[in-house]
Each structure stands twice: as structure tokens, then as C-alpha cells.
Assembly symmetry: C4
Amino acid sequence: MSTPARSERGTHRRLREEVAALHGHLVRYQLVTWTAGNVSARVPGEDLFVIKASGVDYESLDWRGVVVCDLDGNLVDGEHAPSSDTAAHAFVYRSRADVGGQVHTHSPYATAWAARGEPIPCVLTAMADEFGGPIPVGPFAIIGDDSIGRGVVATLQGSRSPAVLMQNHGVFTIGKDARSAVKAAVMTEDVARTVHLSRQHGEPLPIPTDAVDKLYNRYQNVYGQR
Amino acid sequence: MSTPARSERGTHRRLREEVAALHGHLVRYQLVTWTAGNVSARVPGEDLFVIKASGVDYESLDWRGVVVCDLDGNLVDGEHAPSSDTAAHAFVYRSRADVGGQVHTHSPYATAWAARGEPIPCVLTAMADEFGGPIPVGPFAIIGDDSIGRGVVATLQGSRSPAVLMQNHGVFTIGKDARSAVKAAVMTEDVARTVHLSRQHGEPLPIPTDAVDKLYNRYQNVYGQR
Amino acid sequence: MSTPARSERGTHRRLREEVAALHGHLVRYQLVTWTAGNVSARVPGEDLFVIKASGVDYESLDWRGVVVCDLDGNLVDGEHAPSSDTAAHAFVYRSRADVGGQVHTHSPYATAWAARGEPIPCVLTAMADEFGGPIPVGPFAIIGDDSIGRGVVATLQGSRSPAVLMQNHGVFTIGKDARSAVKAAVMTEDVARTVHLSRQHGEPLPIPTDAVDKLYNRYQNVYGQR
Amino acid sequence: MSTPARSERGTHRRLREEVAALHGHLVRYQLVTWTAGNVSARVPGEDLFVIKASGVDYESLDWRGVVVCDLDGNLVDGEHAPSSDTAAHAFVYRSRADVGGQVHTHSPYATAWAARGEPIPCVLTAMADEFGGPIPVGPFAIIGDDSIGRGVVATLQGSRSPAVLMQNHGVFTIGKDARSAVKAAVMTEDVARTVHLSRQHGEPLPIPTDAVDKLYNRYQNVYGQR
């Protein structure tokens, strides 16, 4: 554990402040309940990442509620025990050098698909844009060791989706940075809900594969400000 | 009834302030409508508890809207008549020395299960964590005497769930303190909604019993800050 | 139309302020969209009532957006044309001396029942408390003359419910004052939603008639502060 | 691109401020997620329109996030690239001189209908008022060229509806000005949700065509302040 003196200054304070603030999106979009859910970010150029502490309230969350861990998930700086999902985040950072940020939620519509172990089909242009195809389902895995991290990495292998639905559990997303992973988590719940609603009165129409490809390539390369 | 002089000071003011503030979670998570719902807390070391007064607005709720009762439900201090659910809370405090807080709501998804008299199956890891199994259903009982309290106590006997769905009525939760009972009420609506949504497009996959046990034991003993 | 001088002072300003503020509940509980919906209140001791003006934004609504009408629905004081539902409110005030306030909304779950022309069955204790039975459905009626008012009065005849679902249209509620009618509108949407959700996975259990009667009588006579 | 000096002053600043502010309704009614969705307005008396820039956050949106384009969709003033839907808006302004404002969203209930390619039937009086009939569905079209604009114009030909559901995509609305188009987008989601909910428990009752006509004509000519 860090000494009080050390943590009053706190290392990586700017990144911890940024990650603390990004949790606000999870609250605003109602992706999280009570203290569940978390955002993490790799520390650029170091074998470290920052992640929400375990069981911390969103209302009082500031940089002190975001702690620093090494890539084995050991606490390196901060007053609080790290999220109970730390081992999963650590595994993903170790396995994929391209991942700079991760998010985990139990957002309700997406978790409803996860509880059935059913991928979300790509029937919306917004889904083609962000996910480039269906959102896949990962295995049932118990929290606390590498199982969840392994499941996330294996399931995202060969998919363009930055999101995976872990069976009976919830959503894990990755991104080049924490903000991208937060966006993916927000969009996952959005499309999970719209496709859920659509199927309640019939079958949504499929989007041809080549149109999905065109939409994905355009959105990834043209959308937004350059 | 308390004299004005007595209640301007007010006994147990700190606990009443805390309980008044905890009602804010019921509003924020949209578990309550108009003046329905209530939180209570046992007064540590005394045969008393504090509970929301009957028909008081959430917007203007402060410590004056939380009154002090003895374990038979009689008003001991406060300007207002206690909640019409006071007899139920009192019965639970008399029957279970381990209960330090209780919450009652008509939160919509959970009450939808209650209206069918159907327990919520444990098909989410978040549900295994908090409830350790299904959320059970208690009997139909008329308000005003011991019936509801008896139903709550009998139904929670031999269950790890801190929540019970009273048939055609709503949710009652218990906890070691009022905050724990509030958390249980919030999580009850959360899982009631996700499982409801999941079943709209098929049957959610079951979680093996030993996995439920492992998740429950880990969450109760490892999660959060020690 | 009132002269500027007259309306700057404004008659019945206190009641118009109160009614303007009561519209805040319609917004908070998401019962209204854009400028739809309205609250009215009888002026005690006069053959007048106050009602929201037509097409006024909720965000800028103050006493000036609530105008004074006689019981034939003619504007008596105020700068704006009264609500297009004024004829309906006027008919109800003329027909029922016991009604001191009315509310109209298109709240989504209740209007979903109204579009099918289906009454909401009384399967929740909260519904027995407030409505004393099912919420009935009134006829399809065109806006602009007495048709809606006649339908409301005829349908509520012989019902304990303060709310009626007008077919393909929405909710009309009555009360001894405007606040009671607002409460009824809020509770109508709340129970419309819970019963809707409950029926999505089976049939809600009925509540025996004598239990409905007991709950209704208790709530009307014992609940709240005396 | 505009020079800093030019854009610090900014042309058409008043209209850009108004359009920036109108986006607040999309957020308030939860019609948009992350940076998706946009409002545009024709510049009166000029062959120009203003539109939200691409990928701009709603939280920080001010007049600088609304840029000026010509009717071919080329940027004329502003620091940011225009919305990726600019070609669609431009096509509609070129084709229909009566259109002064447009809105695009992926609002969830309306997009659920769009994903099935199913028009929303006119079974609510509020729908007859605003849309004068069903809300029609346009073709599947890829973003980036005239396809979406052509689909919108062709589908609204001969319909009284100011809204079209573009298949697998979302909502496009038109109006005499931007505020009217925003209102249409808000009402589209409102009626999409209520009709969706109504059909979950049976078939909504139809409204006779002549009643739809009467309601539409009255609402367009009498409702609101003159």
C-alpha cells in the first residue's frame, strides 16, 4: 500500500483525473448501478495502468478513487484496493499492445443479450459504423483470475467489434484509449436496446455484408474532425 | 406525540439525517413514485428505529420527515405520523436481531415480477454476487398489521437474498444497516429489469449452483474496501 | 382579451402560480412531451377555472402561461389563448361540483392501453389504494367540443377511479384540487407501466375484491398526515 | 477552411447560436447518443444552411460547433468539418424550397421500426395532429452521397408527415424552420414508443380516416398561440 505522503501527491495524477471524469459517461448514460462498472487506461510508455478502485461510489469519485497497477494487476500507487476486475484488465493489456483503455459495465439491454449468450446482429447502420459487424459473446467465466481476460481476448480475436458480451455477466470494451473504450460501451448499450426493441415486433432486416464494410471503413476513416 | 420543543431539538437527529439522505437513492434510481416507499434504520443499542413519515414528499424530506418508533411501531419522537408500513418494519426488527435497516419500494420491474408471484431466477453474475440465488416471493398480505412483516421474515428464512417480492405489492429489503438495505433495493430493480428484458427474446442461460456459491462468497468477503 | 395593464397585475395570480408549478411534476415524471398536456384548477367560490395556455413551453411556464376561463371555456383573463382541451375541462367542472382540479397527459404506457381501448386491471396494491379498482376506458372523441368532457364524466360515473383512459388519445384525471389530479396522473402512468411489464411474461394474479375494498378504504382514510 | 480571424467573428452567428441551442432538445429527450444526430437550418434569403459539425460533443456544443455550408454541402464558414450527413441535408434544401430546417437522429424506438422497415400506423390522436397519418419508411441508403437525401425527398412526396424512417438507419425530419423539425423529431420518438408499447399486448384500434383529417387540420390551424 502507498504511504499517505506518497498518495497525497499521487503519481500519474493527470491520467487518474481523466479516467475518474470518464466514469461520468457511464452514470449519465445509465450503464452502471451503485458501484459496479469501471474504466481503466494504460499509462503511455510504462508497464502500468490506472483503474477504478473496488466498491467506490460514483458520486464521490475523483482521482483518489483511481489507482495505479502494474500489468500483473498489483497495486503500485493509491490508497484503495483496485477493482475486482483488475485481473481481467491486466490480462488484456498484457495480451494486446494496441489496447490503451478498457471499460466494464452491466448495462441492462446488453447484459440481457449476454444472459442468453446471444450475439447482437448487425442490423443498424450505427452498428456497422462502430462495430463493423455483430457484437460477439464470450464464455461464462468466474471473476478473480485470468478467465475473464482470456475470454475477452479470445472472443475479440478476428472481430472488428471493440465490445464483447461476457455470458451471464456483462459488457467489456477496448479502445486505443479510455475515451474510445467508453464510447464503445455507450454505443453497445444503445444498439443492444434498439435491436432488442426492433425484434419485439418482427425480424429486423439484414444489412448486406458489403454495405457493412463500406459503412465501417467510412466511419473509421472519415467521421469526426481530423 | 412529541411536544414542539422536544422535536425542534429532536432525538437521534444524526441517524434521522442519514436516513433522510438515503431516500435520495430511491429517487435517483427511480424506485419510487410520488410519496410511496420508505427507508428505516434500527437505533443501535436501543429498542427503537427511525422511519420515514407517512405521505411525505421526497423533495422536502429532511430529518423532520423521519420519525422515531419503538419496536411495536408506536411513535416515540417526531411531528408526523410514521409510514403506513411501520408495523411491517417493526415486526422484522423484533424477529431478526441481525437486521439494522430496511427498505420498501414499488419499483416497476421488480413489482411486475411480484404481480405474477414469480421469483427472479439467478441468471446474472451480479445477482449471484448480491443475492446468492433467486429473489423469492412472499405471500399476498394486507397492510396495517403484522401480515406483511410475517411474510417478509418467513420468506427470507433459509434464503441468502436480502430482498423479497411481496405478491401484488412490491419489494422489501433488509441489511445490516440502512445503506445495505438501500443497496439491495437498488440492485433488486436492476436485476429484475435485466432478467425481464433477457426473457423477452428467449430463455436466459442458467448459472451452475457451485458458480453461484463461489460468486456469492467472493463478493461478500472480498469486494470493496476493507 | 385582457389589456396589458390588467394582465401585468393578473387576477388569481396565486392560484395561477400554483398551477404553473404543478406542471413541473408532469415534466419530472416524463408524462408530457414538447407542449402537450395541461393542468387546471377551479377557482374556489367563483364560476371560473385556470388552465395552461395552448402550446406553451414547459421550460418557460410561469403564471402568465396559465389563463383564467369561465365555465363555458371563454377566456376571462390572460394574454394567451387557453389550452385546446379547455372545452373538456369546462364540461367536467360544470358537471361535477366535487371536482376542483384536472390533468390531461399522453403519458406513454397509459396511452398504450388507451390505444387498444383496454382498461388497466387492478392487480397491484398501489392501484387498489389510489384507484379502488381498474382504470376505465372512455370513448373515442374528437377534440374541440363537449365530446371529450362528456366521455370523461360518463366513464367516471360509478367508478372509484380518478383517471380515465380516452381511447386512442390519453389520460384525463380529476381530483378535489389540482394537486390531487396531478397525483392521479402520476400514479396512472406508474401502474400502467408496472401492469404492462408484468403481463409481458404471464398473467398477473388478481387481487380479491374485498381486499381491493379494504386497501382503498384504508388508503383514502388513514394514509398520510391528518 | 476559414481563417481564425474570420471564424472568431463568424458569419451567421445568431442562427448558429440558435441551432446549437436547439440540439439541447435532442439530448433532453434522449434522442441522441454520444455525438450522433444533428440539426440544420436554411439561412433565410441565401443559398446557404448551417449544420452541426462532425463528431462534436453535445456538452460543449456552441455556435462554433455549427458551421455554414452552401447548398452543395461545401463548407463556407467555420473551423470544423460539417456533419457526415451534410450531403443529405443539402439535397433536401435544394429539392424543397419550403423546408427551412432538418433534424437527424437514431432515437431508439423510431429506429427499431426503421430496422424492420415498417411504417408507424396512425393510431394516436397526437399522431394525427402532428403527422396527419402514418410515418413512412424510406429506402436503405449508404451515407456520403445523395442517396439518403433522395430517399427522404421521394418518401415524403405525397405524405403529410414531416418525418421519415430511413431503413436500418434512423429518423430524418423536416420543418418550415429548425425548431419545427426538432419538434417533429421529438414527437416521432414519442409516438414510435407509445405505438410500440401498445402493440405488445394486442392490436391498437384504428382511427377513422376522416377523424385523422379533422384532427390534423385543427392542430395545424388552431393549436398554439396565433
